[in-house]
Each structure stands twice: as C-alpha cells, then as structure tokens.
Amino acid sequence: MKRAFPILAVLTTLFVAYGFYLGLFVAPTERTMGEVQRIFYFHAPSGWTAFWLFFVNFIASVQFLASAKPSTQRAANWIVIAVGIAGAIAPFIPQVRQELPTGVYPGSVATTMLLLPVVYLLIGKYFPGRNLDALAVAAAEVGVVFCTVVLVTGPLWARPVWGIWWTWDLRLTSTLVLWLIYVSYLMLRRLTDNAQTPVLAAVLAVFGALDVPLVYFSIWFFRTQHPQPVIGGGGSLDPRMASVFWTNVAAFSCFGALVCWARYRVELMNRDVEEAHAVESLQDVGSSAGVEAKPAKRRSML
C-alpha cells in the first residue's frame, strides 16, 4: 500500500488537471455570469471535499472517545448501525419524503445514511487506537486547507457577479463557522501538546459537530427574516455543467484523500520519532540504573 503512493500521486494529479481542463475550457460559458462562473468548478468541489474530510474527523473523534472502554465501543457501534438503518428507511416513508428539500432524491439520502455505519466501522477496523487520533488531525488539517480555498474563492466569485464580497447567507456563513471551529480545533492541538491532547481534541470535534445543525437553523431563520441576495447560484444546473461539476468533485475528493493520507503518514512518522526520542532519554537515564526499554512497533496497513 505504501509503495502505491507515487503512482497514486501521479494519477490524482492527472485527474485534477483533467478536472481543471474540463472546468476552464470544455464547460459551456454561463450566459449571465460569463467566464468568471468557472470558479464554481473548483469552489464548490473544494467545499464538498472539506465537508467530507471534516466528517471523517468527526467519525474518528467519536470512535476515539468510544474506544476508551469496550462497553462504550460496542454501544457506539450498535447506535451507529441503528442510525444508518433508520436513516436508510426513513426517506421512503411518505411523511418524511414530503419534508425533503426539492431536488433531493430519497435514494441518495438513504445511500448517504447507509454509508455512515460503513465508514464508521471501516475506520474503526483500519485505524486502531492512536492511529484514530492521527487520522483525526490529518483530516482536520487538510479539511481546513480546502475550506480556506472555499472561503477565498467564494468572495472572488461573488464580487464581479453579484457586486458584493460577502453576504451572510446559509452556505457561506455555515462554511465560515465550520472553518472557525476547526481552526480552533487545530489551535487546541497545537497549544496542548501533551498526553491529553487526543481526548480534548476529540471532545471539541464532537462539540463542533453538535453545533453545526444549530448554526444552520439559526442562519436559515435569520435569512427568512432578512432576505438577502442568493449568491452561489441556486437552482438546477445545465446537464453539461453538472457532469463537469461532478467530475471535479470526484477529482478533488481523490486529491483530498491523497493529501490526507500523506499527512496521516507524516503524523505517524512524527509520533515514531517522538517515541524514539523519549525512549532514548529514558535509556540515558535507565542505563545508569541498568534498565532496558524497547520502543513499540507501530503497525499500520495504510
């Protein structure tokens, strides 16, 4: 798996380049907005990538907290499976189906909800113990990078098209708050660099996840009271544009996954080096007392 990295890096770069090519040259020019609209083809896919990276961080954080005791771990597994199954069935119930926003198919909601336990259990299997924490920090960092891109390209798109740099609309504001929460997450990790960091950070991630729906509702209601221009192109996409969009989502997701993987490996290396340093200083102390210490080998498939 580790050998595959250079090949995957080349493939991903080609894929992203192809996505850019499609977005900048092949996609039809938008009638009202002009060429500037092409920002959409890397602004929105970056947003999707950031969101699922933050989602991975949330899953890893919850798993990390649950793994403290076997009983909580089992309970968490069952809860996640139950949520997944309930979420997969619910969209097909008529009362729930009516509540779905227009354009959202019950099938896609069901698939997304089923993915939750699948992702949760897979992450639990392939990232045991401390590796969960390494995954969490990797996903958070790369997520912040992609989220920064969204927040910078958004106003650059809005200014020429709608005449304003910023508006407190649902998507932009939610993205900003998510960015703020995760930057505070990274600051906590940086300033707390000790043994408690993983637990504290995981707790903060859970708090952040609880906050997001509340942020969403508060801005939604604010918008109904103070209507503002809809920026970011609400409404459906021309099919040719949609295909370019989704291709870019796939390309950016692969890119995000690759960078996250790279960051994860660097984090594991970092911990190995720190552990080796600690062992060395122990040995310096211990050799005078006649004590031998062996470093633990870290096993990771990825």
């Binding site: 505070s184 906590l188 043994a195």
Partner: protein, 225 residues
C-alpha cells in the same frame, strides 16, 4: 442522584463563601463591566431611534467579554490547591464538580449582567417596544449558554500553554448560533418588529444540547491521561 445534588450544592456553597470572603474577583469584575459599558457607549453613540437596532448586539458582546474574563478564573483556585487531582481520585461524580462550577459562574455572570443592564438603559435611553418580560427567559437561557460551554472549555484550557487566550478561541466559534439568537431576540424585543419566539426556542435547544454534551463528556476531560 441525591449524592450528585448534595455534592453539587456543597461545592457551590463553598465557592460562594470563598468568593464572598475575599471579594477579589467580584470587585474587579464589577469595575471591568462598568468600564466596558462606558467604552462601548463612547464608541457607538447613536440617536435613540437607531439605538434599539444595534444595542442588542452591543449588550451581548459586552456580556460576552465580561463573561470570558470571569470564566478564565473559574478553575484558578482549584488549580492552585491541586483540588482537581483530589477530585480525580475521589469517588464523587465528576458532574457534581462541573455543575457546581457552572451554577457558580451563572450566578456570578448574572450579577454582572444585572449591574450592566441599567447602565446600558441609561446611556442609550432604552425602552422596549416589544414584550419586555421575554427579556428574562432570554437572559437566563443566553447566560446559561455562555456559561455552560465557557466552564467546560475553561476546564479544557487548563492543560494548555496559553490558558487565558485558549478559552475565547474555543468558546467563540461554538457560541455563534447562541450569540446570533441572543442578539436577534434582544433586537426583536426592543424594536417590537418581530417575534423573539423562534430565537428563544433555539436558545433553549442549544442549552439542552450542550448541557447534555458537557455533562456526558466532563468525566472524559477530568480523567484524560
């Protein structure tokens, strides 16, 4: 359950007694709150008609900064005397300590708010055009929202290198929906132009969600090793 309540009340009573005897924090916080109100009044000095629209935001930002200064001292006494280590090895439930701290902070910040509000009314010539009684549940829910998360994050910040700055860094992003609700509700009540009901419900939901989360996870924070 009764042990939780008795330990919480005992800890709370102890905190109040200690605070009342020294009055350190109380006096400095009172003066700080007065200064904040005066500075804000100098910086934002509108005519009475417009003031109702913006004073909601001003008041809650002022309360927020006063609360942060108060919250930063929450665990100072415990830290000085290694109380937290003693608590970790005692069989007492961690939640009792947390609840006591939150209640203590709630009372403290409420006292500050009660003192700052008349000053704001005076400086801005305020008069509520909407249902003024709604300001009471608003103050209760809003203060609880700030204090419950603030106490929790203050505990998290204890292991941090820059303890004092970490609390606002963590608290502000998470509090954004609560702050929006508080400001919008205050504006709605003062101007009488809209109903504050949704915002009060949102605040209540926020309080329930995060109080539950704090109670569930405080043990993890306290025993993190």
């Amino acid at each position: 359950m009764s042990s939780l309540r008795s330990i919480t009340l005992a800890t709370l009573a102890k905190d109040i007694r200690l605070e009342w005897r020294s009055k350190d924090a109380l006096n400095s916080m009172l003066f700080f709150s007065l200064l904040v109100v005066v500075i804000f009044s100098f910086s934002f000095d509108p005519v009475a008609e417009e003031s109702r629209r913006i004073v909601g935001g001003l008041i809650w930002v002022a309360f927020l900064f006063a609360a942060v200064v108060a919250l930063n001292q929450t665990w100072a006494r415990e830290l000085r005397n290694q109380v937290l280590d003693a608590y970790r090895v005692s069989p007492a439930p961690a939640n009792a300590l947390f609840l006591a701290k939150v209640l203590g902070n709630f009372i403290f910040v409420s006292v500050l708010e009660a003192l700052m509000t008349p000053l704001f009314i005076v400086f801005y010539n305020l008069r509520a055009l909407g249902p003024a009684w709604q300001l009471i549940p608003l103050a209760i829910f809003g203060t609880w929202a700030l204090v419950v998360n603030g106490t929790f994050f203050a505990a998290m910040s204890l292991r941090t290198r820059n303890r004092e700055i970490m609390l606002p860094l963590l608290l502000f992003p998470i509090s954004i929906p609560a702050l929006m609700a508080m400001v919008q509700a205050t504006t709605a009540i003062l101007t009488g132009e809209a109903s504050a009901r949704f915002w009060l419900l949102l605040l209540l939901t926020y309080d329930v969600v995060f109080t539950t989360a704090c109670l569930a996870l405080f043990g993890a924070i306290l025993h993190a090793e």
